[in-house]
């Protein structure tokens, strides 16, 4: 029998009674929650869940929040929770699931993602990092370079895709691995971005040895496994209710109201246009949320990232101009390595620069427009000639 909302509420109250948050340490509470199957209720029993419908997680979360229970700091371990875990659940062996999911959810082991490469961005399947099986030890030997890796410097584990057969067409010669970030040959270097910070890293892999037991899915099945990861990346978008002026428009509107001396007619027209667009984007997100709650998810989700990327860029650009002389300044250019991403923090100049990444990260706006055109509008794909050519023969 799958548990009902009442069952879950009762179980959560029992957990809270046995492990009162006020007198229980954070790690102990999280471990007890995982073992009670209340970590992610849609996961199977014994792996932090109860095989319940995913939507019922909200019941557990509401009880825990009301009781002031600690959480597992999901922002710090977002890649593990959002990408590694669902993929391990879908493709992992029993042993892999038991080994990895518990420390992942508890936050004891941080995960990162070794997918993008300098030569494989939008065309991820063209990746060139090689994994070669060493017949004498049964280990894979990995060589290559990955890029735009957030959390690589704090991560213990990585999800990694590498080429195991360059003679096959690009989608067919890829295999998916779980890589120990502490293994010899893994070198993490900060990748400084235009904001001055290094949220991301480059990861150089030189003769890194991965036991075959850490392969996820079959040899050559890596692209299908990676699609599971990438589909889960987008699930989290569009789930939250945002208040009016809740996004980038908030700080600009506040400056406009507080500092009348900065106002000009030209800026006023632009501000009003963007204010309306931001409000409509908020309503569109709210409509999407209502559709999800009603169990009728619409295709609007695939478009929201496009809208927010454009608006964030235009609004932050307007804010720098509005500030006049102050817009000439920048907070500071110190190379920092933040553990979590902050799109709206710091000053206008930072927001302007960071927003440039919004139309590149997680799928460029150009690629997302193709996806909308093909999957939502049913327009034909561009003719392409790269699907049946051996990877080694592709132009690069």
């Amino acid at each position: 029998m799958t548990p009902t909302a009442e069952d879950l509420a009762a179980r959560t109250r029992a957990l809270l009674a046995a492990h009162p948050p006020a007198t229980t340490s954070r790690p102990d509470f999280l471990a007890a929650r995982f073992d009670a199957g209340l970590a992610w209720v849609h996961y199977p029993e014994g792996l932090g869940g109860l095989g319940a419908p995913r939507s019922l997680q909200a019941v557990v979360d509401a009880e825990l929040e009301a009781a002031g229970a600690p959480d597992n700091d999901p922002r710090r371990i977002g890649i593990g929770l959002g990408m590694a875990a669902p993929t391990i659940l879908a493709y992992g062996t029993e042993e892999q699931k038991r080994r990895f999911l518990r420390p992942l959810w508890l936050g004891e082991e941080v995960w990162c993602q070794l997918f993008s490469e300098p030569g494989a961005g939008s065309d991820l399947a063209a990746l060139g990092t090689r994994a070669v099986l060493d017949d004498t030890t049964g280990e894979w030997v990995v060589d290559g370079q990955k890029v735009w890796t957030s959390s690589a410097h704090t991560a213990r584990w990585a999800i990694l895709i590498a080429r195991t057969d360059p003679t096959l067409p690009k989608h067919r010669g890829i295999t998916y691995f779980l890589c120990d970030m502490h293994a010899p040959g893994v070198e993490v270097r900060p990748l400084r971005q235009i904001t001055g910070e290094a949220e991301f890293n480059e990861v150089f892999l030189t003769g890194v040895r991965i036991p075959d037991a850490h392969r996820l899915g079959a040899v050559g099945q890596g692209w299908a496994v990676a699609r599971t990861t990438l589909m889960n990346e987008r699930v989290s978008i569009g789930g939250m209710r945002i208040p009016r002026e809740g996004g980038m428009i908030g700080p600009v509107a506040a400056v406009w109201r507080e500092r009348p001396q900065l106002r000009t007619h030209a800026l006023h027209q632009r501000l009003l246009g963007l204010w309306v667009e931001a409000e409509v984007a908020r309503l569109t997100g709210e409509r999407l949320r209502q559709q999800l709650v009603a169990g009728q998810p619409g295709p609007e989700g695939s478009g929201m990232k496009l809208t927010f990327a454009r608006l964030n860029q235009e609004i932050s650009g307007l804010e720098v101009e509005l500030l006049g002389e102050e817009g000439l300044l920048y907070g500071d250019w110190t190379l920092r390595r933040p553990e979590t991403v902050d799109f709206t923090g710091r000053d206008a100049g930072y927001r302007y620069l960071r927003a440039k990444g919004n139309s590149i990260e997680g799928g460029t706006s150009e690629i997302l427009l193709n996806i909308v055109a093909e999957r939502v509008l049913g327009l034909p794909a561009e003719p392409r000639d790269d699907k049946d050519i051996a990877w080694k023969d592709l132009a690069r």
Partner: protein
């Protein structure tokens, strides 16, 4: 700044979808683009038979009228769905003018004469439109009222009155209040409208007798409320219009071959249509928000309506312009219906306030004042 209500319902209910289905089926049978064009060319765009079925058969005329006056006692949410479908078909019917604007004005007048008119209007027995310019916007000064030369004999002119030629009764704002004037007693001079599907006329009264419905203050308040509803629901008409343009254009680029491939496989066109789809999806949220805010008489309604109008006018025009461009030479012909949509969209962008006017209202309501 007013807080946004958490309970805004932006979806369509099952009842609303049923209503949409009925209206769409009727329009598919009686309002095909070729029929609309043929009627427009004849100089008599209105289709009385279509109107009777829509107004009394489906009961769309009385959606905003309370049940005690013979209406459906529904709300702006349902009227918005009807307008989406009318926009999708560029239907030449006096719905926005009669069943939204005139109806809302009459609902703001607390007199037996107004109630009688509402009954006739809800039953589809009479068409009643306001003698105001189609460009009259909420929050803008009203035109000079007509003159009451004594005992409700009215004199003066009203310009750019939409659907006057389809009306039995005109609602006239005079210096002594609001009057119902039989259209037969007025002189109507038809103009040549940009939008072939919404006829315009100059209404001239010369000592024409009218029935008084409200005093000047009540009349002005009723008109202001009606203009707010009209502007908010026009967003739904613009949404339906934009959707037709998008759907039609997507179908065209999938089927049209040049360079040995469907032109819809070219990335330049795919990106344009994907952006347009995003705009239409956003317009739906804005239009739904306005309809819901009006239906619940939310204190947030004036801002939500201004946002919807500031946004949806542009989307409708862009959709119609893209429809013409992406149809290529075909889109430029008189035969293809794209021009009917372009003309309606452009005309709608002036109706009930331009984008610029509504941005000004947003500045007021959201407390983002202009430079001193």
């Amino acid at each position: 700044m007013t807080a946004s209500r958490a309970s805004l319902d932006l979806l369509y209910s099952d009842t609303e979808e049923e209503l949409r289905f009925a209206v769409r089926a009727l329009l598919a049978d009686h309002c095909a683009p070729a029929t609309v064009l043929a009627r427009a060319e004849s100089g008599r765009p209105h289709d009385p038979a279509l109107w009777r079925t829509l107004a009394s058969g489906i009961g769309a005329a009385g959606l905003l009228v309370p049940e005690k006056l013979g209406g459906a006692g529904a709300s702006h949410r349902e009227a918005a769905v009807v307008l989406e479908e009318l926009g999708r078909a560029v239907a030449p019917v006096p719905y926005l003018t009669g069943c939204v604007l005139a109806t809302e004005i009459l609902l703001g007048c607390d007199t037996p004469e107004a109630a009688d008119l509402l009954r006739a209007l809800a039953a589809g027995q009479q068409v009643c439109v306001p003698a105001l310019p189609l460009t009259q916007a909420p929050g803008a000064p009203l035109p000079q009222p007509l003159r009451d030369t004594g005992g409700g004999a009215l004199t003066g002119t009203a310009t750019s009155v939409a659907d006057a030629t389809a009306a039995d009764v005109l609602l006239v704002l005079a210096d002594t209040g609001l009057y119902a004037v039989p259209a037969a007693g007025a002189r109507l001079t038809g103009a040549v409208p940009l939008d072939l599907t919404r006829p315009l006329a100059t209404v001239t009264l010369d000592g024409t007798p009218g029935t008084r419905l409200a005093d000047p203050a009540t009349a002005r308040a009723a008109v202001a409320g009606a203009l707010l509803s009209g502007a908010g629901l026009l967003a739904s008409e613009q949404l339906g219009l934009a959707e037709w343009c998008l759907t039609e254009t997507v179908a065209h680029v999938r089927g049209r071959h040049q360079f040995n491939r469907p032109i819809g496989s070219f990335q330049a066109l795919k990106h344009r249509l994907a952006r347009l789809w995003l705009d239409v999806a956003s317009a739906r949220a804005a239009a739904r928000a306005a309809a819901d805010a009006l239906a619940t008489a939310s204190p947030d309604a004036p801002l939500t309506v201004a946002v919807a109008q500031a946004y949806c006018s542009g989307v409708a025009v862009r959709a119609a312009e893209e429809c013409v461009q992406l149809h290529g030479g075909i889109g430029m012909t008189w035969e293809h219906p794209a021009h009917l949509y372009l003309k309606r969209a452009k005309s709608d962008s002036l109706a009930l306030g331009t984008t610029g006017h509504h941005l000004g209202l947003v500045a007021d309501f959201a407390e983002l004042p202009a430079p001193a």
